[in-house]
């Protein structure tokens, strides 16, 4: 094809630039050791990314299906029944149980499998060794195990979609007693067992990964790479790993108790229960609220486990493409540190209406709103980074700017919800849906897209198609606001979340038209993501080849490796670092890589 010839032609003149990686590491590599049971952090990163993408498509598709129900509650989709079968669609309508199963699985996989494993799994693996100057992770074997535990967790979760009583359908938070009693909901039977097993495996994966990231950042930095010279991506991924390692075990313990209650007749969470058609249960003395404490002790840090990597990558990408140093590097680290500490001290703001002791609640209000301060610092620092820069709108940069916009929009509504007296009114309404989808869901997704567009050349030695990238960005950006902005108004009408049908409610049925609009936009945005997916896989094989070592003129170490680095990353010695990562536009120079020694006449900052 003629176009291909043009696209590939320039690469011919630069053969020497990317040919050199073949010389290193000639130990025997089979298909299995290179692509399947690989211990190369870059390959593991790609495995996490692609598995995450599979889940993102499935999770997104689930949201399209339940949006179909919300947008068109009276329509009959007989063709859906042909595809999905009678459990999911009956008489052309998605069944209530299927609806709740979809909502639950959508939440679980997006939060854990996509935005935790897919995001920090991908970029912590890919960037930590490359940006701190290490040949691989502290323990490549453990790293490999981390992926395979995630993979098995994925299989178990997927298998739960096919059991007779249906997948778990009690919401991604899985509050007992609903999640503990199969008699209370068919989704809490085998589906819930599989859900718990999958999540337990996931916790193992996440701990194996997290310990590795921490060990690598602390011990394996190259010469000259002091902690305060690390790119903000690494700081962010480091804090993410610390959060995960300290909070996932608590979730795990919560799950263990739940497994005991489900299978071994204990009463950790159960008390005074009478189930229709079954009668009174023997359990007495347990507390259903205990689970919520254990769950949210992870659940809230989890929000930052999702957000921090995005923040780190966005800082790096904004600075690189504004050709200007990140503003307030130390303040950025400080605010991330503050967020990481506070993340552990705010969990009960999810529980203001559980009957929590009001005094305890007031402490959590104070600590929750305190998080707005480091968040504000970050936003203003990003804005100042753009100010008087020289901005290149690469697709990565667009997504980074989009991230900042969404983080502001969604972050501000956190001030509403964190204030308990307002939360009483807005709790569990669409206002909450709008809030966390914008600030955590879409914003982190944008961070992830920014990271993929920015580091794709390093991952595959080729570029993604820019035009597709721009179309992807603008439709997603506009779509995200069209979907989630109006939901604030539904929340202000008190419209509860997780309702299958609103038509019987005098207070909430006025939004039928709006729901249809939102569902339509959601479908268009989902299609646009398929465009991105196509771009991703097409470009692996057919994308324009990268012909220079440092396509974005960036300062960080990963761009000193060969265009397609082999296992071990650098040919010969690992470069030494002499400065921080953000000397852009200093002393009239466009950029000064970290590997360049500080000149005698260089100005101080």
């Amino acid at each position: 094809m003629s176009t291909e010839a043009v696209l590939q032609a320039p690469s011919a003149t630069h053969h020497e630039a990317h040919g050199d990686h073949h010389h290193e590491h000639h130990h025997h590599e089979t298909f299995i050791t290179k692509y399947v049971f690989s211990q190369d952090h870059k390959m593991i990163a790609k495995q996490f990314l692609i598995t995450g993408m599979v889940w993102a498509v499935l999770g997104g598709l689930m949201s399209v299906l339940f949006r179909l129900q919300l947008g068109y509650p009276d329509a009959h989709f007989s063709w859906l029944q042909d595809i999905l079968g009678k459990f999911w669609v009956e008489d052309g309508r998605i069944t209530p149980q299927a609806y709740y199963a979809l909502v639950t699985t959508h939440g679980t996989v997006l939060v854990f499998f996509v935005l935790t494993a897919g995001l920090s799994g991908t970029f912590a693996n890919f960037l930590i060794p490359l940006q701190v100057g290490a040949r691989d992770m502290a323990s490549p074997f453990m790293n490999m195990l981390s992926y395979w535990f995630f993979f098995i967790a994925s299989l178990v979760m997927l298998s739960s979609m096919f059991v007779e009583t249906g997948p778990f359908s009690g919401g991604w938070t899985a509050y007992p007693p609903l999640s503990a009693l199969g008699t209370a909901s068919p989704g809490s039977k085998t589906g819930m067992d599989l859900w718990l097993v999958a999540m337990a495996l996931f916790v193992v994966s996440s701990l194996l990964g997290g310990l590795n990231y921490i060990a690598t950042v602390l011990n394996m930095r190259t010469k000259g790479m002091s902690m305060t010279r690390m790119p903000l991506t690494i700081w962010a991924l480091f804090f993410t790993a610390v959060l995960g390692v300290l909070s996932f075990p608590v979730l795990f313990s919560g799950f263990i108790l739940l497994i005991f209650d489900r299978n071994f007749g204990t009463s950790f969470y159960l008390s005074d229960i009478y189930i229709n058609g079954v009668g009174a249960l023997p359990n007495e003395g347990g507390s259903a609220i205990l689970y919520q404490h254990l769950f949210w002790f992870l659940g809230h840090p989890e929000v930052y486990i999702i957000l921090l990597p995005a923040m780190g990558m966005v800082s790096e990408i904004l600075s690189t493409n504004a050709r200007k140093p990140i503003f307030g590097y130390i303040a950025m680290i400080g605010s991330m540190f503050a967020i990481a500490i506070l993340a552990f001290l705010v969990w009960a703001h999810h529980m203001f209406v559980t009957g929590l002791n009001p005094f305890l609640g007031s402490i959590f209000v104070l600590l929750t709103l305190l998080i707005a301060v480091p968040s504000a610092i970050k936003v203003f620092n990003w804005l100042t980074t753009l100010w008087r820069g020289n901005i290149r709108f690469t697709p990565a940069m667009l997504f980074a700017i989009g991230f900042v916009s969404l983080f502001i929009s969604g972050g501000l509504t956190g001030i509403w919800l964190g204030n308990s007296a307002l939360d009483i009114h807005l709790h569990d309404t669409y206002f909450v849906i709008a809030h966390f989808h914008i600030v955590m869901g879409v914003a982190s997704m944008f961070g992830m897209f920014a990271g993929i567009y920015h580091w794709y050349p390093k991952m595959y030695g080729r570029y993604l198609n820019n035009t597709l990238g721009y179309i992807h960005f603008w439709i997603t950006m506009i779509g995200a606001y069209l979907i989630f902005w109006p939901m604030h108004y539904e929340g202000l009408a008190g419209m509860p979340r997780r309702y299958y049908d609103y038509s019987i409610w005098e207070s909430f049925k006025q939004f039928a038209e709006l729901n249809r609009f939102i569902s339509t936009v959601a479908m268009i945005v989902f299609m646009t993501q398929l465009l991105f997916l196509f771009n991703f896989f097409y470009s692996i094989f057919k994308g324009r080849k990268v012909t220079t070592l440092n396509p974005w003129n960036s300062n960080t170490l990963e761009w000193t490796t060969p265009i397609r680095p082999g296992h071990g990353n650098w040919v010969g010695e690992i470069p030494e670092v002499h400065r921080w990562a953000y000397d852009y536009g200093k002393d009239g120079r466009e950029f000064i890589p970290q590997t360049e020694a500080v000149g005698a006449d260089e100005s101080h900052h």
Partner: protein, 367 residues
């Protein structure tokens, strides 16, 4: 599958193909034209789109408000005294966060547009500035302190003790409906125990029989307790305290018009109180909706029927309430008709409303 489905799939596939071809061609052109030139061109387009998005977005925010504001509860105002505080606090928070929202979004997209790449511009090397950083640490901290103070004052008011003269109603959630209990003339709720629950006759498990195996003794306070389903009556301008519990899984008493919400947790009673301001009739006029109801929505995922777990609060005047209450008959007398003193003297008495209602039936379906 219908023909329309195939048609839709075909159209979508076609759009994909067109977008793909255009994108491929664009890359092709950019390589031929020189990457530097084409990059600068797309940079201009994206810079323009940035400011375009800002303007369209701000208009969109205004338009969205125009269309949807009247569908929210803010347009009508709160139906409880406490809810008015929620609303006023909501407005203050909206103003504070709204100003920050508008200002930062304008700065973000304006900077993106203004400082797009240009050969003429020399980047300003500006790695940090302590004064600025202190400024935007302190100002948000002060603003938040104000919001926290307002919030906590309201929080302690809402969660504080109900006034002594408050009416008391017990609300119990179950899959998928609500059970209400009034203490009756002795103003005391009789004891209950979940193991004596009987779906048909004793939906709350009131202890009105001795039981040696469960070590229970008949509690006379249960004898005048009034147990109802579906609809609960409260009095305008009179504080009402709800004592909330659940029979099976966690539910939540959501009262959006009153701006109140509290979980119903099995085994752990919770409370909530508020003062209704308008009767249901008055709200019908106020909202212009003849079908208006104060609905109790379950706001905590409780199973496959969660979306239909509806109750109704009927707010009436004191006189109407007294008339209604006089017609209610304690559940105990329903179950043990021989203990009913009125039955002995006058067997032709009008059958009270509570008795004619089938107990523990899924009422929601009727709505």
């Amino acid at each position: 599958m219908t023909t329309t489905t195939y048609l839709v799939i075909a159209v979508v596939a076609l759009i994909f193909l067109v977008i793909f071809q255009i994108s491929k061609a664009a890359e092709y052109v950019s390589v031929l034209k020189g990457e530097e030139t084409s990059r600068k061109q797309t940079n201009k387009i994206n810079g323009f789109l940035m400011v375009g998005f800002l303007v369209a977005g701000l208009i969109g925010v205004w338009y969205c408000n125009e269309v949807l504001y009247n569908k929210t509860l803010l347009a009508v105002g709160s139906a409880s005294v406490q809810g008015e505080r929620v609303d006023s606090m909501l407005w203050v928070t909206l103003i504070v966060t709204g100003i920050v929202f508008i200002a930062t979004q304008i700065l973000l997209f304006w900077f993106a547009y203004k400082y797009q790449e240009s050969d003429k511009r020399k980047v300003f090397y500006f790695p940090h500035n302590n004064k600025l950083e202190v400024l935007w640490t302190v100002v948000p901290a002060i603003a938040l302190t104000v919001l926290v103070v307002i919030g906590l004052r309201n929080w302690f008011y809402f969660t504080g003790d109900a006034p002594a003269d408050a009416m008391q109603v017990e609300v119990t959630g179950k899959q998928f409906g609500w059970i209400f209990r009034y203490p009756g003339q002795d103003k005391t709720f009789g004891k209950k125990y979940y193991k004596v629950i009987d779906a048909a006759d004793n939906s709350l498990g009131l202890v009105w029989k001795d039981s040696a195996t469960l070590n229970l003794k008949d509690d006379p306070a249960t004898h005048d307790d009034i147990v109802l389903e579906q609809t609960m009556y409260v009095v305008k301008d009179k504080p009402v305290k709800l004592i909330i519990g659940s029979r099976d899984v966690i539910h939540d008493v959501g009262l959006s018009q009153f701006r109140m919400k509290m979980d119903a947790v099995p085994g752990i009673p919770t409370t909530m109180w508020f003062t209704p301001k308008y009767t249901t009739k008055e709200m019908k006029d106020k909202t212009g909706n003849p079908n208006f109801q104060y609905e109790i929505s379950c706001d905590q995922m409780c199973g496959n029927g969660h979306y239909s777990m509806k109750g109704v609060i009927e707010v009436v005047t004191q006189e109407e309430f007294d008339v209604w209450m006089a017609k209610q008959k304690p559940k105990y007398l329903d179950i043990f008709p021989d203990k009913d003193p009125s039955k002995k003297s006058d067997t032709t008495a009008v059958k009270p409303m509570a008795a004619s209602m089938p107990a523990d039936k899924k009422i929601i379906a009727k709505n």
